[in-house]
């Protein structure tokens, strides 16, 4: 939970660079320019996180689609996907399902490579993307060890946009419509734990629709923190069940725990 580490691009410079200026500066300048104004200290009272109970996940993918609907993501972009594997040999077989939202790492790899500071760690621990600053270079996609980021190529589900697709997305509270030539088309997109919902006291859409009640969400900074959807004590969930984080060895300190 070390929010101002030296060398973090988000803290390296405070020169705002808008997208057009940046593009004009040329790709060679990427490494040099790096940075923008999104530097805010960590709020010690809030750290949003998820605890996903793999024994309760039934692999239905409702989370994936709920997210799609809530955030108006285009074809090929899914913030929370469910990975699936079969192991063993007949008749001793196992199947596992693992939902993978953004890990909202305390030590994110993505923010470190972002040349414009468009992707940054919020005080509440959520890693956000400033669409106005994102230049679509996709370094962050390559850097993310979890594959949690995707690029918005501007594809649509129906050629003349069905009524749902025409509606603006509430992401970041910005209410942007997907129109050619403007954000978020051409930007990198990712899970935000539905921070536009958190902002008004509601839980992330994936956790709300989980039919197995596998996705728990809440404030890890609160010692009495409870799941905002199902009410369990977060601390107890972690204390009473075996748990893990993905690619722990990389040191990204994900905010998503899995109960095994």
């Amino acid at each position: 939970m070390d929010e101002n580490r030296p060398g973090d691009p988000a803290t390296a410079a405070d020169t705002p660079v808008d997208r057009r200026t940046f593009l004009a500066a040329g790709a060679a300048a990427v490494a040099a320019v790096a940075g923008c104004g999104h530097v805010q200290p960590r709020d010690p009272s809030v750290r949003w996180g998820m605890i996903i109970d793999l024994r309760r996940c039934v692999g239905c993918k409702a989370c994936t689609v709920a997210c799609k609907a809530e955030n108006h993501t285009p074809p090929g972009v899914a913030y929370n996907v469910v990975m699936e594997e079969e192991t063993g040999e007949y008749p001793h077989v196992a199947r596992r399902f693992l939902p993978r939202p953004c890990m909202q790492c305390a030590v994110p790899s993505c923010t470190q490579v972002c040349p414009t500071g468009a992707t940054w760690s919020r005080p509440d621990g959520i890693v956000a993307v400033d669409y106005d600053k994102c230049i679509g270079c996709r370094y962050c996609i390559a850097a993310c060890p979890y594959g949690a980021r995707s690029f918005d190529f501007g594809d649509t589900y129906s050629p003349d946009l069905n009524p749902h697709e025409r509606r603006p997305s509430p992401e970041y509270g910005e209410h942007r419509s997907r129109e050619k030539g403007s954000s978020p088309i051409g930007n990198v997109r990712k899970c935000t734990f539905c921070l536009h919902r958190l902002a008004v006291g509601l839980s992330p859409s994936c956790a709300e629709t989980c039919i197995g009640h596998a996705i728990h969400f809440g404030n890890f900074a609160d010692p009495d923190g409870r799941c905002t959807v199902h009410g369990e004590s977060l601390r107890e969930l972690l204390a009473t069940r075996g748990h893990m984080r993905l690619k722990e060895e990389l040191g990204n300190e994900p905010s998503v725990y899995y109960l095994t």
Binding site: R55, K61, Y90, R95
Partner: protein, 1011 residues
């Protein structure tokens, strides 16, 4: 929120041991204050009901400027939230609470906003199935369909084809005459001398014989019966509206559904087991089934069902996963495929498909021989005995059955042996308890008799446990383990059987066997045992839906749902031309083949609603042939939201409203222990064209079509009080509102929210004054129900100690005497009355099985597709763009196949491996192999919902313009056409002649690698 949380904590304390905890409120984020987000505002949402599948999850539709932007589960219902919030919770509070729904539910708006939706009436402009159409005016279509004539004179070959319209088919119009004829036909069926009875009928009605289909066979009924109605998914409210048109209005006895393509034999096993003894004999059997109460069970065997994927998933899953993680519940899964449910099971038993009944009998044998059955429960012979034990139900396990298959009777009473002496009793006696010995076999008054339970034991001991296991292809220890665990939890264990058990040629007896297992532990109506659905009444209370001017229907239905031997078609010879079904109804697969073979009589017009027999049924290719045949079906009208696989053969397609534009009362499911009634209601402005009927503007829908036909034909029961669909449905909502203790009247605040939430609906749908007028004095209660999308009993009300509150509470037949008194119409053999395992067979009772090298074809469901109607949904397609043919790794190696290989599915009845689409070419059945460990070797499965050839997947020409299809909608394989046709009948799939189910899982196929 705070209040409801406190209230819940209180309720939880009352209940004692609920594992659920209160929900914490999410604190507002430090960043982002000032964010505008209105999706949870109570005036920007309408509660309705999903129809992504039959689960019908109650939903909360969030609306922005008239568009559905997000769908969530309703917090008010047991489908979608555990525990659900109290019904009295104000809307403003509930608006901030979400419920959980599946991916189909989340994606529902993409089905509603499908670019391939129909908006205008289409009329065929080429041969049937050629996908050539013209749009025509709604009223012109209505006039043509009513009046008939040379409707397709512009098409080559049809220049002189006269089509009889509905006016001509409604030959009999006199209610009084219909009533008299109906009674006279019943006399013919009762009579021993049919010839004389028919002659008497002909004499009595000599002036009216021209109204009959065939005066030689008055029991065919009037010509009106030549109008055939077939529906796919149809629930309450719409059901009564459509019956008012088809039965009461047109006077046709042919109103048929699709039950047997789902789990018919499970339903009709439920009917046979729920028949009650009355002064008129066995009566009142309900077409229904029981399911396990997953909220209280300690052990459930899911047999041929996968509640995480296809068996009402949102309603069942949270209680199951809670039970699995808390340690309350253990599950076993019997399924050749390692399903997502099996992935969480204590034990996976990949029994050979079609041997589910054998597995049950092996367990029954072990349980009875080891004395692990509930002797006390089973010994209760009547209601009084059950009541004395605190048992809501009782069985006929100890009743004596004679050699001829009927119960031993002493005058009008039944007989058991108690403490060595015969006792007679009335099953419904509430004063004198009767008990009986369970396994008696011997002579009483010179007659050989055995108890029902003894008959079951004798069936079970036909084989040893080892032999049963061998039939199933599993280890004997598996049977013993299952049986031991099943009998180790008192009444908190349940065997929950579904499609994998019922959709075989032996489905009925398989279902009897699994239900019999439940009887052995007497778990009916107990928490954690087998339970049934309970719903609020829709058809009476505030407004009676009965139609006093109705035309009474009579005569044989096309499906021959009675004893062959009673009818004028029986001449003492078996087999019948086609099977008869005295123990089942809604035998979907037999409808079109019966029309195709004009048995028992020809059909003149078909109206097909939300069904697609060509796509959904096994060997659906045989169904398409009839749909395309002008002689078998001279007039074919379909109601659909797109041009589907079956509606593409229609002469006219009347565009229907999609499920978030219309009304329906969705009802409940057996595992739901709360009394409920979800109300589907219009959420958005309809996409179909607006028309005027009875002077009222309304969107084109099937109701609008029926109202318009009724207006032109002056059908009874339409017009006047019923001019708009809302007139009907709002009265149904009023009935729901007043059932039992009426719901509270809506507050002024909720009345205002109600109106504001509907501000985007056009007057053709939402006209406040007209809605108020329809609901009359019940208006404010109607608003309470509509604001909550239905009526739902409060969480804590469903429990009564160790029992459930909403009970079945009657006799359950271990031995089904009514069935035992019927015969197989093909072989002439009497049917058995007790559970048994029968080998897979064809319609003549000849064994039908696998040859060396064959793979056994089965199907499964992924939660993100529903059989026929979700392939147009791009969000769902993204989760699985195409399905695969799942085979075991061992089979793949043996056949030289690898994952990703393209193979063609061929079979003896479809050696070419194609869908032969009349007038539309051939579509090969080719899919990709996926080799997995989680599949029983010898079995191949594909998930339903892919491989569409219509539904927007192919090109159409409308008014001369090309509407190009989207091939992504047709990706994957739909291998139903490889499923076996019946070797004797040849024009239909294999079927269970007792319970009516189609066989989905008994077909041998081969996979041929494509170059």
């Amino acid at each position: 929120m705070k209040n409801s949380r406190r209230k819940f904590l209180k309720d939880a304390a009352l209940l004692g041991a609920t594992p659920m905890l209160a929900r914490a409120e999410a604190p507002a984020a430090s960043e982002g204050a000032g964010i505008e987000y209105h999706r949870n505002d109570p005036d920007k949402m309408i509660f309705s009901v999903c129809l992504g599948c039959n689960t019908g999850c109650p939903t909360k539709l969030k609306i922005e400027e008239g568009t559905i932007v997000k769908i969530d589960g309703s917090p008010y219902t047991p489908w979608t939230r555990v525990p659900h919030v109290a019904y009295a919770t104000p809307l403003a509070e509930a608006a901030r609470l979400e419920g959980a729904i599946c991916p189909k539910g989340q994606a529902g708006m993409m089905t509603v906003y499908d670019p391939y939706r129909l908006r205008k009436v289409l009329k065929r402009d080429g041969p049937r199935g050629s996908m050539r159409w013209k749009t025509i005016d709604f009223h012109q279509a209505v006039n043509e369909i009513v009046d008939g004539g040379r409707l397709f004179a512009n098409l080559p070959g049809e220049e002189s084809r006269e089509v009889e319209g509905l006016k001509a088919l409604r030959a009999l119009r006199e209610p009084k005459l219909a009533d008299e004829m109906s009674k006279a036909v019943a006399e013919i069926w009762k009579s021993a001398d049919k010839k004389t009875a028919v002659a008497a009928f002909r004499e009595k009605f000599k002036d009216h014989l021209h109204l009959l289909i065939d005066p030689e066979h008055p029991d065919f009924g009037p010509k009106n019966n030549q109008f055939l109605w077939i529906h796919g998914r149809l629930k309450g409210g719409r059901s009564e509206f459509f019956k008012r048109f088809v039965q009461d209005g047109l006077g046709s006895a042919n109103f048929h559904g699709h039950t047997t393509v789902c789990q018919g034999s499970l339903y009709f096993a439920g009917k046979a087991m729920s028949e009650q003894w009355t002064k008129d004999g066995w009566a009142g059997g309900e077409k229904f089934f029981w399911q396990a109460d997953q909220s209280g069970a300690e052990f459930i065997i899911f047999v041929g069902s996968s509640p995480f994927e296809a068996n009402y998933p949102p309603l069942r899953t949270p209680n199951i996963t809670e039970g699995l993680t808390s340690g309350r519940l253990k599950i076993a899964v019997v399924d050749p495929r390692f399903s997502k449910t099996a992935a969480k099971a204590w034990k996976w038993i990949p029994a050979r498909p079609g041997t589910e009944g054998a597995l049950a009998l092996g367990m029954i044998r072990w349980i009875l021989e080891n004395g692990r059955h509930d002797v006390r429960y089973l010994s209760n012979a009547n209601k009084a005995a059950a009541a004395a034990d605190g048992e809501p139900t009782w069985s006929n396990a100890c009743w004596l059955v004679k050699e001829d298959g009927t119960f031993l009777r002493s005058q009008d009473k039944f007989v058991a042996i108690h403490e060595g002496r015969p006792v007679s009793f009335d099953p419904n006696d509430v004063a004198t308890a009767a008990h009986g010995d369970l396994l008696f076999s011997g002579e009483v008054e010179g007659r050989r008799v055995r108890t029902s339970l003894r008959l079951l034991l004798d069936e079970a001991t036909r084989k040893t446990v080892e032999q049963w296991a061998e039939i199933c292809g599993i280890a004997p220890a598996d049977i013993v383990d299952l049986a031991r665990e099943f009998t180790s939890h008192g009444k908190k264990a349940a065997a929950d059987a579904h499609r994998g058990v019922s959709q075989h040629t032996n489905g009925f007896y398989n279902c009897l066997a699994w239900n019999s297992l439940n009887l052995l532990i007497g778990n009916y109506d107990w928490r954690g045992g087998m339970v049934k659905a309970s719903t609020y009444k829709t058809t009476a209370g505030a407004f009676d839906f009965a139609n006093p001017d109705r035309l009474k229907t009579f005569g044989l239905g096309l499906l021959r749902e009675r004893k062959f031997e009673e009818t004028t078609l029986f001449d003492g010879v078996y087999p019948a031309k086609r099977p008869w079904f005295p123990n089942a109804t809604d035998i979907y697969q037999e409808l079109l083949p019966s029309a195709g073979s004009a048995y028992p009589y020809p059909v003149k017009a078909l109206l097909l609603y939300m069904g697609t027999p060509g796509y959904s049924l096994p060997a659906g290719n045989t169904q398409l042939r009839v749909l395309a045949d002008l002689k078998s079906l001279p007039l074919f009208v379909a109601s659909d939201i797109v041009i589907g696989e079956s509606s593409m053969y229609a002469d006219y397609i009347i565009p229907d409203l999609a499920f978030y534009e219309r009304w329906e009362f969705h009802g409940s499911h057996p595992n739901n222990i709360w009394k409920v009634q979800p109300v589907r209601q219009p959420v958005i402005a309809p996409l179909t064209e607006t028309v005027t009927v009875f002077g009222e503007p309304m969107p084109i829908s099937l109701e609008a079509f029926m109202l318009a036909v009724a207006e032109r034909m002056k059908l009874p029961g339409f017009g006047g009080e019923l001019r708009r669909p809302e007139d009907f449905y709002l009265r149904g909502v009023a009935n729901i509102a007043v059932d039992g203790t009426p719901v509270a009247e809506a507050s002024d605040e909720e009345l205002a929210l109600f109106e504001k939430a509907r501000r985007h609906l056009p007057p053709s749908v939402f006209d406040l004054a007209k809605w108020k007028a329809a609901a009359g004095p019940h208006w404010k209660r109607v608003v309470t129900v509509l604001n909550r999308g239905g009526r739902y009993e409060d969480y804590e009300k469903a429990f009564d100690g160790a029992l459930v509150k909403n009970r079945y509470g009657k006799q359950i037949n271990l031995y089904c005497e009514k069935v035992a008194k019927t015969k197989d119409s093909m072989t002439g053999k009497p049917l058995g009355g007790v559970a048994a395992w029968l080998p897979i067979s064809d319609s003549l009772g000849r064994p039908f099985g696998m040859k060396d090298g064959d793979l056994h074809l089965i199907t499964h469901r992924e939660i993100f597709q529903t059989k026929s109607r979700t392939a147009g949904n791009p969000w769902l397609r993204e989760l699985q763009p195409e399905n695969s043919l799942l085979v075991s790794v061992r089979d793949a190696r043996r056949l030289g196949l690898r994952t990703g290989d393209r193979v063609r599915v061929v079979s003896d009845s479809n050696p070419e491996g194609v869908w032969d689409l009349p007038n539309s070419g051939k579509r090969p059945m080719i899919g990709r192999v996926q080799a997995i460990q989680g599949m029983r070797p010898g079995v191949v499965s594909f998930s339903l919902g892919h491989g569409h050839w219509a539904y927007g997947a192919c090109d159409a020409w409308i008014d001369g313009s090309l509407v190009p299809g989207d091939p992504l909608r047709g990706a994957g394989v739909h291998a139903n056409a490889a499923m076996a046709t019946d070797p004797h009948l040849k024009d239909v799939c294999l079927q269970d002649l007792v319970g009516g189910s189609v066989s989905f899982y008994d077909s041998p196929v081969r996979l041929v690698k494509e170059p």
